[in-house]
Structure formats: C-alpha cells, structure tokens
Symmetry: C2
Subunit: 518 residues, 2 copies
C-alpha cells in the first residue's frame, strides 16, 4: 500500500529509503547510495557511506582491496599517494569510486568521469584523503568541481564528554551525512584508544589536529613542546590511520605582531599552541621549520595536509587583516611544497567575515594557493548571535561554497558557548547539509537539482509523505506537520494547516494547468 494512500498513518510514517550500490570496473569499487522511494515510483539517489548500517560490527576494510597500499611491518604504507598516481596518469580504484559517487551513476553518461577526477587530483585542485592504515575509509573527494563536503568536529575534552559518548556522536554525524569527521579530543586519558575506536568505526576520512595530542604529551606545558615530541605525535597518528592533519604551519613569527594588535588575537586553538611555543622559545613555528620532515611522514601513508588557519579572524573587526592574509600567503608557499613532495593538501579558511567580503576570501585563496581545495569554518557573518551560530555561519558557508570552497566545517548551535551535545551535532549537520546543497545548486552541479525538483512535484500533488521522504530530516518534517493538523482532517487532504481547507493556491494550480496546457 502506498504511503500516500488515505489509510496511511502519519504516526507510523517512516521514509522508504533503500540501500543500493553501483559497481565500477575495478576490484573493490562498489559505491553505496541511499535510494529515496516515492509513492509515484520515482527514485532519487543520494550519497551514502556503508558505515551507519554496519557500525555495530566491524566495517569492511575496503581500502585493502584497492591495491594502492602494502604492509610494512605492523602498519601499511601507500605505494604512491593519490596525487602521484594521478600525475603519472593512473586511474586508481579510489578515483573510479569517487567518480561514480559524484555522478550517481556509472557508464558513458557519467557527469564526472574517472579521468576528470584524475585531472583534478593531478593539478592539486582536489584531494582524496585515504590513509593506508584506515582501510575502513570509503573514498570521497574534496574539490571545487565536485559536490561541497561537510566536516563534523567531535571529540572529548577533560571538562566534558567521554569515550562512548563520542562514538555515539560519530554515529550521529554519519547518520546525518558528515563527509569527514575531525576528532578534536584533548586532555583525556586514553586518546590513542579513543582515536583507534573512532577510526575503526568511521567509513569517512578522519582528521585530527596533532598539536592537541602533542600538548597533552607535553603534559600541557608549552615549554616541553619540542619538534621531536610534535614529530613523534604526527608519526604515531599517521601510522594509526588518520586521513588528514590540520597543521598550522603557515603561522610564522613575523605575523605575531599583527595578531597582537587585533581585537580578538588568535582564536584557533591549534594556532595558539604553535604561537605559544614560538613566543616561549623565541623560535620560528616548528611546523614551518620542519615542514619537509612532515611531508615525508604524510607521504609514507598518504595523509593529506589541511593547512590550518591559526590566524583566522575570530570576530568581524579582525576579518581580512594582515594577520589573516599574511598567513594565507604563507600557506600558498606550503601548498607548492606539498605538491612537489607528492602530498595531497588543502587550505583552511575563516572564521568571522562580513558577508560583503566572503567572495574576496575565496578569490584570494584561489590566487595565493593556486586553487587548492578551500575548507572553511563558516564564515560567520556576524558576532552577535551566540546560540544561533550554526545559522550565522551557514549563511557565510553557503556563500563561500557557492563561490568555490570545497568543504565546510560545520558549526553547531553551541559554538562560542560550550562543546556540542548530541542535539547540536544533528542540528549543525542538517544546517550544513542544506548549506552545502544550496551551494551545489548555485554551482549548477549536474544532478544537484533532482531532489529539489522531486520536492516541487510532491508539493504540487499534495504527496505529503513524499515531501517528508525527500527532506533532509524526514521524521522531523512529518512530526511538525502531523502535530498541527486538526485530528478530524484526513491526512491526505488536499490542504494543510497553513491556509486551511477553504482556499488553497496549490489546488487552484490544477485548474490553471487544465486551462492553459494544450
């Protein structure tokens, strides 16, 4: 019986979503999708990862099937990085995988071919993070030409949250469509154990900020934070399977006076760890100084570098200043070195930026960093809405992604106030999924509009349950609708509680169509 038949009960509504997959030519390439099944027989494919279904058991180690890594003692190393494969003209299974994923189909009419993916990777305009020691990771691509991705930050701190709570948040993030997850845990006892549990449970790339663990290893004492300690942290995380590292290597000593003259100085935690170490020792940024050694480590396992914006503006007053743009110029130089070393890389961006200067941020990144993927936190377009900063940031986020940013780091409603709890993770992710999708529509990405168009048809035909199934949060949409409908109204009635039964524009449209359609 169709869910839109008169007897359908909104109290028992569940979206009809089926897991399907599309195979590629290469071994191990089988790309999962969620198929939204509508009552009129329409089917809409949306991206998915296998994780959320299998997460109670062990995830399949699909990375091992691809043949791009090999054992080396107790850990695995990549044979070549995806960047190196792309440059020599080899299409890896990972590249075919993401081509199918981005296209929503396989075969000659794919919107994104494996060749396109290869070219974008070869030029450094896209990245495909996939540490050889995270075989559970299902390939995904970060680049302006592809759909906009969303990262969710989670992680425990000594003040709040725990081990099992973080795994729950990871699952929640996956369920609501996080494309990557960053573990920002600090100050807890078994950081390594937690990270291992997260890696084993994560079918999406996992990123970290190694400076956090390094400071923990230094027992919170900046004076103990040496290059050797930092390096050893990076090596152990790389061998564990972290797919990308945020490292604030572009924050050089000459920029500190600019930061000091700001309203809000440095608001990046990783950036301030680096800055503190520089100030205490009177030395240059240790990651800038030892960047070649970092590149060697990343190269061995194909860890991507996310060049952190330690000087991102923390308020509107500090936006687009010498500190921020000076660091971006440094990052541009580091991007060049990453490419020479065959290491995949992307660039982190602001922060707090007024709406009229969002586009400038994207363009400047493209110029200074030669179109390396831009991965931004918002930007937040005002400072005065704590409790609603998922919204202030989604406004700037949609804009910068429409202009070309490749990935957005989500911001939750608790930003500036507290660590996010479960509800915040969900609210933040849905907000960012809608922002990323709006940007895909704005970029005119092939196929991006299919779901919107299906929604319009469902609205025109009063297929309420199909509207819920097509929405980013089906159960919530259904619940709002159901709870406001008068009890005595049929739930398939051709009206809603907004206009009431008396006069409904949607009903008039049928008359209009009949009269003018020939």
């Amino acid at each position: 019986m169709s869910q839109n038949s008169p007897a359908a009960d909104p109290k028992t509504y569940r979206p009809d979503i089926r897991r399907v997959s599309i195979r590629g030519e290469r071994d191990g390439v089988e790309v999962p999708f969620d198929e939204l099944n509508l009552s009129n027989g329409e089917k809409i494919l949306v991206n998915a990862v296998s994780g959320p279904q299998n997460i109670q058991g062990a995830l399949p180690k699909i990375g091992k099937r691809f043949g791009t890594s090999e054992p080396s003692g107790e850990v695995r190393r990549c044979k070549k990085t995806q960047l190196e494969y792309a440059r020599e003209g080899t299409i890896t299974p990972q590249m075919e995988y993401v081509a199918i994923r981005e296209s929503g189909k396989n075969g000659p009419d794919m919107a994104f071919t494996p060749q396109t993916v290869m070219q974008e990777l070869a030029s450094g305009h896209a990245a495909l993070p996939c540490n050889a020691n995270h075989p559970e990771c299902e390939p995904m691509i970060i680049g302006s030409r592809f759909s906009c991705k969303v990262n969710a930050n989670i992680g425990a701190s000594s003040v709040s949250s725990g081990f099992s709570e973080e795994l729950k948040k990871l699952r929640l993030a996956l369920r609501h469509g996080a494309d990557t997850v960053m573990d920002l845990s600090t100050g807890i006892e078994d950081l390594t154990g937690l990270r291992n549990a997260m890696l084993r449970a994560s079918p999406v790339p996992l990123g970290t900020v190694p400076a956090y663990e390094a400071l923990d290893r230094a027992e919170g004492k900046i004076d103990n934070l040496t290059w050797e300690l930092f390096r050893d942290t990076v090596i152990s995380q790389a061998r564990q399977g972290v797919d990308y590292f945020t490292i604030h290597a572009g924050l050089t000593a000459d920029l500190l006076p600019y930061a000091a003259s700001r309203s809000l100085g440095i608001v990046s935690r990783g950036g301030s760890v680096m800055a503190a170490a520089m100030m205490r020792r009177g030395e240059e940024n240790l990651a800038w100084e030892h960047f070649d050694e970092l590149l060697e480590i990343c190269h061995d396992y194909d860890v991507a570098l996310s060049l952190g914006d330690g000087l991102r503006p923390g308020c509107i007053a500090d936006a687009c200043d010498k500190a921020q743009y000076g660091e971006l110029a440094n990052i541009g130089k580091l991007i060049e070195r990453c490419r020479k070393a065959g290491v995949q890389a992307f660039v982190e961006g602001p922060g707090h930026v007024p709406f009229n200067r969002v586009e400038e941020n994207e363009r400047l990144e493209e110029i200074l960093c030669d179109r390396a993927p831009f991965y931004t936190l918002g930007p937040l377009v005002t400072d005065i809405a704590p409790g609603y900063d998922h919204i202030t940031s989604a406004i700037g986020g949609t804009a910068i992604a429409a202009y070309g940013a490749a990935m957005l780091c989500y911001v939750t409603p608790s930003e500036h106030l507290a660590l996010p709890e479960e509800d915040d993770v969900k609210e933040g992710l849905i907000t960012y999924r809608l922002a990323a999708h709006a940007a895909d529509l704005a970029k005119g990405l092939p196929g991006a509009r299919a779901r919107d168009d299906a929604m319009a048809r469902a609205r025109a035909e009063f297929r309420w349950f199909d509207q819920f199934t097509l929405s980013l949060d089906p159960m919530h949409a259904c619940e709002v609708w159901r709870s406001r409908m008068p009890e005595n109204c049929s739930h398939t009635a051709a009206f809603c509680s907004m206009c009431g039964p008396r006069f409904c524009p949607i009903r008039l449209n049928r008359e209009l169509t009949q009269k003018y359609s020939h």
Copy 2:
C-alpha cells in the same frame, strides 16, 4: 555589584537593558531605544518600540501629535502623504523621528539626517508607512539606505489558532524585534475585531492582504469576488488603520499561461485568489484594472502599497522565469503610477531562488521598479529542507539584503508544514534579526558594527555575562553556557567548556598583547 563579579550567579542572570529615549526638535518626537549596559561601563543602543512595555495598557497615540493628519467624521485622514510632504521639501516629525532612530543619536553628527530621510522618501527609494488611523504606530523607514527591516507574519486561520493566541504572538514578535507585522488571518468569525485589537496593540506598522478578507466576505466563493466587494474591503481596512496593503495588482492575465507551465504554478495565496477570479470570469486582474481607485483610497489615509508578487517562484525550478519577471515588470509600471499619485509603495519579491541568482533578482528590481524598496520572502536557496526553512531562507535573505533589499519577511521553521506556533515565531524572528544585521554589516551602515565590536571585546576579556547581554537571545545563550559548565568551575573562570581549563587560546592572547604592544 557587577554581573561579572565572581559571585554573580548565572541562574539568576538577567540582561541589564534599560529603556532610554532621544528627543527631537519637533513635537512628539521622542525615540525609544534599548540600552544594553555592560559590566565595564560600555553602553550599546539598539532600536526599540515602546509597545512591548506598554502593551497591557493602551499604547500612546503618538501619531496624533505629529499634526500630519486630521479628523474627518469618525476616522482621520492624512493631510498629505509622507511622499507628498517630502516632495514639497517639508520635513515631518515622522522623518525626524526615523532619522534619530536610524542614527541612534541626535545632533550635528547624525549618520542619517532628516534631510536624507526626506530625499529618500521624495525619490520613492524609501517608504514610511503610517496610516492616519493607526496613531499607535511609531515611525520606521523601509529603504535600502537604512537598516534592513524584518516583518513577521501572524494571523489566525479557520483550522488553527485563535484571537488571544494571535495577540500573544504579536507581543512575542514585538519582543523579538519585528519591525512590521502582517496580519494574515482568514476564515475566522470576527476578522474586524481581531484586526482592531492588533492595531491597538501594535506600535509597528501593520500590513494585511485585503484579498483574504475579500474572499471571506464572498463566503469563500471566487465567483462572488467582485471589484465592489474588493474595494469595500480595502476601504474598511484603510479606515481601520492598516498601514500597508499587499495587493497583487501586477499579476495580469497574459502571465497566466507562463504560470500554468511551471512546476509549482502559483504559490502566493493572495496571487491565486486574484488569478482564480480572473479565470472564472475571463477578466483582467481587478486590482490592475481599478488601480487608480485603489490609489485614491491609499492616498486618503497614507496607506502604503506593497505590490505583491503573486507569481513568486515556489520552487527552485520556477525561479527567475517569465512569469516572475513579467510580473516584476508590471509592478514597475504600477510603481510609477503610485509615485504620480503621491502614494508610498514598495515591491514584494521571491520566494525560492538558487543562491547564484539572488543578486540578479535585486538588480532587476532596481532597474524595473526604479529602486522602490524591495521586500522579500527569503529567498529560500533550496527546496529540500522543510523544518529548517528559516535557515534556507535566511541565507538568501542575508544575500539579497546585503545587495540592497530593504525589508525581509521572516520565515519560520514551520514553513511548508504548518502555521507557526509561538516557538516558531521566536526562532524565525531571531534568525531574521541576525540576517538583517549581517546585511547591515555588509552594507557598511554607520554604527552597525558597534555591537559586534563590543562582543569581540567581551570575548577577549572573558566577560561572559556581557556576551549574553550583547547577544540577540541573552537568556538562551546564558542557559546553553551554564548548563554545560562543570558545577565546580567558577562562573568567571577564564576558560569555557569548549577547550577546558588546560589550554585556552583566549588566555594566550593576553600574553601575545603584552609582548607585542608597545
């Protein structure tokens, strides 16, 4: 004792907001503001109306003091409209009032002088709705050069909501900063009584869509909806005190075939009433045909015309099509006629529009309608997020207001699903206040950044309670922060639950400032 002293208790926190006022030179010009008092002695002025404080009693009838209207039998008429006063070079008390309101001060260094206000009104680039029969209304201005305004739609329907509930929503809307309110009630018994109660309780301009009541008067039968009935409805609402009318006069018969070929046809309720009448009778739009008579009525009481976009796109697929832009061109012609007749007017806009075409909508309006104020509903930048459409629409809303739109009609989380309830009204308004403010920042409006800058300083100095006081929803921000802080932490501790006490970037900034500031 300062609220930021160690003994301050977040459980009893209340923002220290005091009502102040600034007097003008002219009689009756006394402009209220809310003064946010911070613990360091800083004071930030934000716009306010006297309504929310006095609403239990009768509001002062300040309109009568201004001397721009006079009794005429049982009702009042304006002597001249604000547009006519402006054109002849007369600065009315209303103009001085809004100049002070927009400037946040009086005297020679005002950012907006009464002359500027007069010029913007004279050119038709701004409107100041103030029906002679709504003396409770405190003057406010809608125009691109001024701060972006937010309208809240409320109103009962036969399916849901009642009389006292709507007054409660009105109060809520005023408390959260609605600059105007539209009463969209239909299908209830005593529409006139409800509207009267709302007018008497509203210190902000009140708008309506007369077609709704006209259809009610026709007992829901489109065939009974004659010009005479429509005209009588408009006259009675004008005499009652409605400040602006949304009339869908630009939806002409030649555009109906374009609407019929759309995915979602007509989604504007007022627009579809007009279209239905046209189709049933095979006649032209009655408001288009009788526009001169409507202008006469509006002129008598200084009702502003909000030229409705009956063909606004209801989905991404229908955006920017011949139906929408054809109607906009018609509205441009009507704007010319409004100006000739001395009637204030503005233009309603979309709707659902992909982010990349938002700017085009603003520019086209400026060209076709000679920069009459643009009043938009969103636009929503995707169709797939019912339950979150306050966000999808605030994204497009911020963008179009940054490009120049003068007023945004709020959208609540229940859009597309149900009539808004109280929580929705609050959530929608705060979302739109942040969007409007972000647009003011983007436009570089004088003084717009003061509150953001004060927030940045409060963050730099760990003045948590000042952060709450400066935020758009102080109690909510405080509650999120308080509920996540460990019980044993001092509430003035120089850290928060995000990073924990171990390492805090904000603390590092003090060190940074000491080292580099000379």
